[in-house]
């Protein structure tokens, strides 16, 4: 639910930005320990960095002790002496010294051999697979991020949230942000220019004709109307925000600088997409690839420093991805052809750091001569949905259409796994509630559970259950007859300390 909607439902506010309720401003909600973020992302932000063209994983995270690597790549290799050593057998590309320092500070998690079954070596198909989160032979038309955002903004598209659901730096909108009803992303290169371009356009609600052209018209209007709605907010937040670091003068550096600025300006948009192109290194790979990795490492390292100094590091994580890695054996033109699995990076203060997974097994290649995948890419998405955005594995399953085991990428990830295995709490129904509502919850093991309701000040106003529960699902009726209208939270606390909290709205 979005702020605009619940304000409307409560009838508390007709206009303006300050919502006052029971003497507490909405802003103060964030300080409440039981605050559940309006957009359902817990204030967390994901920055995606797409490395287009198929990044050569073997020359990024180098198996420096593996003779099979050097035998297959007599020229297109990274020498052991030059690689930045991460572990005894693992070296990092020498141009990524920024990433080396992040790794040493446990702010960089490397996940080895990420791919999927029946790998597709077409750039376009494999990119679609990564963006949509599909199986190799399954065709999905929405991005996985779009499905996630739709789940968090159920009244979209009938109303737009106050701030963009996702931002893409660039010009051509990615499939990642295409949802069932169209585009969920706002795409621009520069906040001020965007604002300047939009001013002067008017929202258009004229009904389109019922033809193919009408469908295209609807699409154009949706884009135009969303731009009109968001250009002012984006400019305002960019004006409020700042950068504490000087970013490298590269396209990627510029993109990440804008992202940091918008976040520091207070924009709540939970997902950003940035891109760097040129990883399709079929010929003369060494220099070009080195230059690209350098750009990635430099821009991301500055971004991470900036975010930390701005005090935002607990919120923000950045993940890299690419449609595939490259073939073990080099080709005859000093390059490498399309391959399959490759390492990816997750960066931030909230990651554990280190390397997940083993070195690629170069004795066990597939029929094309490519290393086999160890982790499905959707395990990383699942970890992000669960351990970064703080959602249940059920939601991750809804979005990724299957269960994918999470990986220990984020700090505290294990306990998150155990808690999800133990308890779950659903949104009360109906919500908003006038008099009566039901709260559904479950536990997968026998344990002590406590369920209680609190008000905005954090005061417990009712304890509904406080006892040992057998494994199973429960439905608890709750009466709000005596409660004044307003926002409440209800919480399920398990004996092992795991807790789930959701928001309940009482409207008379």
């Amino acid at each position: 639910m979005k702020r605009q909607d619940f304000i409307k439902q409560l009838g508390l506010l007709s206009s303006g930005t300050m919502l006052s309720m029971g003497g507490i401003q909405v802003k103060a909600l964030a300080a409440n320990p039981f605050h559940v973020d309006i957009e359902g992302t817990d204030g967390k932000i994901l920055v995606l960095l797409q490395m287009q063209g198929g990044n050569d994983g073997l020359n990024t995270i180098v198996p420096i002790e593996d003779a099979k690597y050097y035998n297959a790549r007599t020229t297109v290799n990274i020498k052991k002496a030059q690689a930045l050593r991460l572990k005894n057998t693992v070296g990092l590309h020498p141009s990524m010294y920024g990433f080396k320092s992040l790794f040493d500070a446990n702010k960089l998690s490397i996940i080895q051999n990420v791919g999927y079954a029946q790998p597709d070596r077409s750039h376009f198909r494999s990119t679609d697979i990564w963006l949509s989160g599909s199986d190799s032979k399954q065709q999905l038309f929405e991005g996985w991020v779009a499905r996630f955002l739709e789940s968090q903004n159920p009244s979209y598209p009938s109303s737009l949230p106050n701030e963009p659901m996702a931002i893409q730096l660039g010009s051509v909108e990615s499939m990642l942000l295409q949802g069932k009803f169209g585009s969920l992303g706002t795409v621009f290169e520069d906040p001020n220019l965007f604002y300047q371009l939009i001013s002067g356009s008017k929202v258009d609600n004229d009904p389109p004709p019922n033809t193919v052209a009408g469908e295209e018209l609807k699409f154009l209007r949706q884009i135009a109307n969303a731009s009109i709605q968001y250009s002012e907010t984006i400019k305002a937040k960019a004006d409020l925000g700042k950068n504490t670091q000087t970013y490298p003068n590269t396209n990627l550096g510029r993109q990440l600088g804008i992202v940091a600025k918008l976040i520091s300006g207070g924009l709540k948009t939970p997902v950003y997409l940035t891109t760097i192109n040129g990883f399709d290194t079929h010929a003369n790979q060494l220099t070009a690839h080195s230059n690209l990795l350098k750009q990635v490492s430099e821009a991301v390292t500055v971004f991470q420093n900036d975010i930390e100094i701005l005090g935002l590091a607990d919120k923000v994580t950045l993940m890299t991805f690419s449609e595939f890695g490259r073939r073990l054996k080099e080709n005859g033109t000093s390059g490498t052809d399309h391959g399959t699995a490759a390492p990816i990076f997750v960066i931030g203060k909230t990651v554990k750091g280190g390397i997940i997974g083993s070195n690629p097994n170069l004795s066990d290649l597939d029929s094309s001569g490519d290393p086999k995948f160890e982790f499905d890419f959707r395990q990383i998405y699942s970890s992000i949905i669960g351990d970064h955005f703080g959602h249940s594995s059920e939601l991750a399953k809804d979005i990724l259409l299957k269960d994918f085991n999470k990986l220990p990428i984020f700090k505290g990830a294990e306990s998150a796994i155990s808690s999800e295995n133990s308890i779950s709490l659903s949104q009360n129904n109906p919500n908003p509630v006038r008099n009566f509502t039901n709260i559904n919850y479950s536990t997968s093991i026998r344990q002590h559970l406590k369920i209680f309701v609190i008000d905005l000040k954090g005061k417990v106003i009712a304890v509904l259950k406080d006892e040992i529960h057998a494994a199973g699902s429960y439905s608890l009726p709750f009466s709000a007859v005596d409660l004044p209208e307003g926002i409440y939270a209800y919480s399920l606390l398990a004996g092992n300390g795991d807790q789930k909290t959701l928001r309940m709205i009482v409207a008379k």
Binding site: F124, V172, E173, G200, V212, T333
Partner: protein, 465 residues
């Protein structure tokens, strides 16, 4: 055959050309039938244009980026000018279609000479034989550089498989109609070519003499025999026809009709002209459901806007490319994401909804405004500025506000505009007065008309074709 009237004429011109002027439309309607116009104008073989400059025959020099950049600009301007002055002939639209099919990116190819030579092939085969074009493209220097066929070796080496993959996936068959092994085998038949300046040479010493098995056939195939094998596949003709349908009709394929197109293409030995003739004379092409269903490409938007506003003779200035009238069009092609010779990747510009994001939509409106204002967004002057009053006076109904809105909107938009939108536009023009009191002598008429044209071109309907 569909009837020939203003509606079918508007549709045919907007899909086969980069927009049209009122004169083009009037001229088209002087032909007695649709078939007559298509055979004698749209698909006419015109003489090959004079090259942009003598540099096209110079041997490329490495590390010559500044000069090459200027030449690319000149080359771009030259092509813009051919589009603007195409009259009622489809060739340049086919050249762009083929550029977007057999893509090459200048950042990889580098030399404008090679890119020019490749485009000359597209122009030569715009209505010609696609199989033959595919063979020539396979050993075209720009393509050899772009997809790494250049210096690919099969003797004592693994041949580069980039071209082999893309020729199957994107140029002839489509994904799912070949195996990874077909790619590896075909790559062997494409090896052995070395680009040397303006030419590509075959070096037999770089090639292993060996049998290859490609799509079930085995032999020591040469590059052209491999292309023959690809064109023999049942997937080939439908794949190409789907792409043509998508480009010229609508992006939701009608597979039954595409099957008919594929038969025409095969029956005519992969010659494009009979296929285009069949398509453009079909009832399907003029289906009312599909009118206005294409989103204009940036090039269609830019050149089409210049045509409709009658900016007919920009100065190219090959020796002073920064100050060319076309410099603004070139810069805008980049911001609108269709820089010629620089598609986003080997699959080319996907088109339709991919053209439009919140940022490019905004830039499109900024562009149309600029042609009315005579200024870029940053205030710098451009070579084009509409004289709104003079232009409006050339319309039959310029002095009758309501009829004028009808007349001008029917020219600017593919579909009739809703009564509500027309009312809004009328209000923009009248600015508080009543329609009866409007004529081109009212105070501030120039400004009012400027506002009207800006408002019209900012409408989402103006983005449709």
């Amino acid at each position: 055959m569909p009837i020939w009237n203003i509606d079918t004429a508007k549709h045919l011109l907007s899909r086969t050309l980069f927009g049209y002027t009122r004169k083009d439309l009037d001229y088209a309607l002087t032909f007695s039938t649709l078939g007559d116009f298509i055979d004698n104008e749209i698909l006419k073989e015109n003489p090959i244009p004079i090259a942009p400059d003598a540099w096209i025959n110079e041997i490329p020099i490495p590390e010559n980026a500044t000069i090459d950049g200027q030449r690319y600009r000149g080359f771009n301007y030259w092509w813009f000018d051919l589009m603007l002055k195409e009259k009622t002939n489809m060739r340049e639209k086919m050249v762009l279609f083929l550029h977007n099919h057999f893509t090459s990116q200048r950042t990889e190819v580098q030399y404008p000479q090679n890119m020019y030579a490749q485009q000359a092939l597209f122009r030569k085969y715009a209505f010609g034989n696609l199989r033959q074009l595919t063979k020539e493209i396979t050993i075209d220097p720009a393509m050899l550089i772009y997809l790494n066929g250049n210096r690919s070796k099969s003797k004592n080496a693994v041949p580069n498989e980039n071209y082999a993959r893309e020729v199957m996936e994107l140029f002839t068959l489509g994904a799912g109609n070949y195996t990874e092994n077909d790619i590896k085998e075909a790559a062997k038949s494409f090896a052995g070519w070395v680009v040397n300046g303006l030419e590509a040479r075959f070096d037999p010493n770089r090639v292993a003499i060996e049998n290859k098995t490609i799509l079930g056939k085995t032999g020591n195939f040469t590059y052209d025999q491999t292309i023959d094998i690809l064109f023999e596949q049942p997937a080939c003709a439908p794949f190409i026809c789907r792409k043509i349908y998508n480009q010229f009709v609508t992006n939701q394929p009608n597979e039954i009709f595409i099957g008919k197109m594929a038969k025409v293409l095969r029956d005519n030995d992969f010659n494009l002209k009979p296929l285009l003739s069949f398509l453009l004379k079909s009832e399907e092409f003029y289906a009312s459901e599909l009118i206005g269903s294409k989103i204009k490409s940036p090039i269609e938007l830019m050149i089409g806007s210049m045509k409709i506003l009658e900016f007919s003779n920009p100065a190219i200035k090959y020796d002073d490319v920064a100050n060319s009238d076309y410099a603004y069009i070139y810069d805008t092609s980049k911001t609108l994401q269709q820089q010629l010779f620089e598609p986003p990747n080997v699959a080319g510009w996907p088109g339709q909804r991919d053209w439009v994001s919140s940022t490019t939509y905004a830039y499109r409106n900024g562009f149309s405004d600029s042609l009315i204002n005579g200024k870029r967004l940053n205030g710098a002057k451009i070579a084009f500025k509409l004289s709104a009053l003079d232009y409006s006076k050339t319309f039959l109904n310029s002095e009758n506000a309501i009829k004028f809105i009808d007349e001008v909107t029917s020219l600017f938009f593919p579909l009739p505009l809703s009564a509500y939108k027309k009312k809004l536009l009328l209000e923009t023009l009248l600015e508080g007065t009543i329609a009866e009191n409007y004529n081109t002598n009212v105070p501030m008429a120039e400004l009012r008309l400027q506002k009207l044209y800006k408002a019209m071109m900012r409408l989402p309907e103006f983005q449709l074709n």
